[in-house]
């Protein structure tokens, strides 16, 4: 790579620079930023006073009526009133997008080879055709979400430039990666763009709205509330 392209940064070619020191910087920003945000979360929240409630009487559970399909009516009612029940399409699209957001970068063959060369990590890779299909599904989900942001008035009313920028930062590595894999346009330029966009996303996680990645886990498990997943030991 370095022999085919002019040296731009001392003895490094552009690719070597973005895949070397720039990648290290973005990983440092990601790790440091995530640690800072987690510490900030615990510094700004405080321990909640423990309140012990009377246990729910057993007869309350006994009154639960089961449907012929084996799912309790109380459970069905809970699902109907949840976001899955009220916004089924958005929930499915969002869930698929977030799963693929983690799955694709860790399972693409080119990445698993890179991880093995760099750190000796042996991750399971999926066939290239499968990773192509997964990327297309991811881009479809991302397209659906940006359409929702622009078409649904209530979402549009609270959207700012930052929301569109964050969407672009998230989608860019997948678009450039797909184009690079298909060898469309100039491979070298697209590859550099792919690496830079991925590094930008990593660096932006802790400092933009992409931080909901760790905030979601912290708030839903640690902050006590009606909708928290666990009991919650902290309060705002």
């Amino acid at each position: 790579m370095s022999t085919a392209h002019p040296l731009l940064f001392g003895t490094w070619s552009l690719y070597e620079f973005v895949a070397g020191p720039l990648a290290g910087l973005s990983l440092l920003l990601f790790a440091g930023g995530v640690c800072f945000r987690i510490l900030q979360f615990f510094a700004l929240t405080r321990k909640k006073e423990q309140v012990r409630y009377q246990p729910v009487h057993a007869c309350y559970h006994a009154r639960t009526v089961s449907s012929p399909h084996g799912i309790s009516t109380r459970g069905m009612s809970a699902i109907r009133n949840s976001i899955l029940g009220t916004h089924c399409d958005t929930t499915i699209v969002t869930a698929v997008l977030h799963v693929l957001l983690f799955l694709i970068p860790l399972s693409v063959r080119a990445h698993t080879v890179l991880f093995y060369d760099l750190w000796g990590l042996q991750l399971v890779s999926v066939p290239e055709a499968t990773s192509d299909i997964l990327t297309i599904i991811f881009l479809g989900c991302a397209g659906a979400l940006i359409l929702r942001r622009t078409m649904v008035s209530r979402v549009r009313s609270i959207s700012t430039f930052a929301d569109y920028a964050v969407w672009l930062i998230t989608v860019a590595p997948f678009v450039t990666g797909f184009i690079a894999h298909q060898h469309w346009f100039d491979y070298y330029s697209i590859l550099v763009l792919h690496v830079v966009s991925a590094e930008l996303m990593l660096a932006a996680i802790a400092f933009t709205r992409l931080g909901h990645m760790m905030f979601f886990v912290l708030s839903r498990f640690f902050i006590a509330g009606e909708y928290s997943f666990g009991r919650g030991s902290r309060t705002c």
């Binding site: 009220t86 009313s157 708030s219 705002c236």
Partner: protein
Amino acid sequence: MWWQQSSKDNRNHIEIMFRRKQRTVKLLSSFCVRCGLCADSCFLYRNHHGDQQYMPSYEALTSMKALAKNKKLISREELENVRDLIWKKCVLCKRCYCPLGIDIPSIIAFARTICRTRGMNGVYPHSLGEPEDENIGRVE
């Protein structure tokens, strides 16, 4: 009363209050991804046929944006706009649901606290003698 206090005192009061809770509220609102999924958990939003001003995240974000931006030189008119948003369009029933776990009621409650320091107490449509919205509760 607010009109007996000097404007400088009021500004200082707001500054102190902001410093106390600003960082927490900033953290909460900075991770809002503006998904709009909190809307349907609000009965006022549903009763007003999807008027975005009744959406919990709209009220929280708009009021905090106005108060944070103009905390030093906020005009009475701007404060009244915020008051209309967080009192007339929200009853603080704390039923709003955020998929990310953002405590929206605490942001609105904080905005109300700041308004109170300027003598802006809760005003509801019936207390002003305004007619009730004819569209409320109408089933299409």
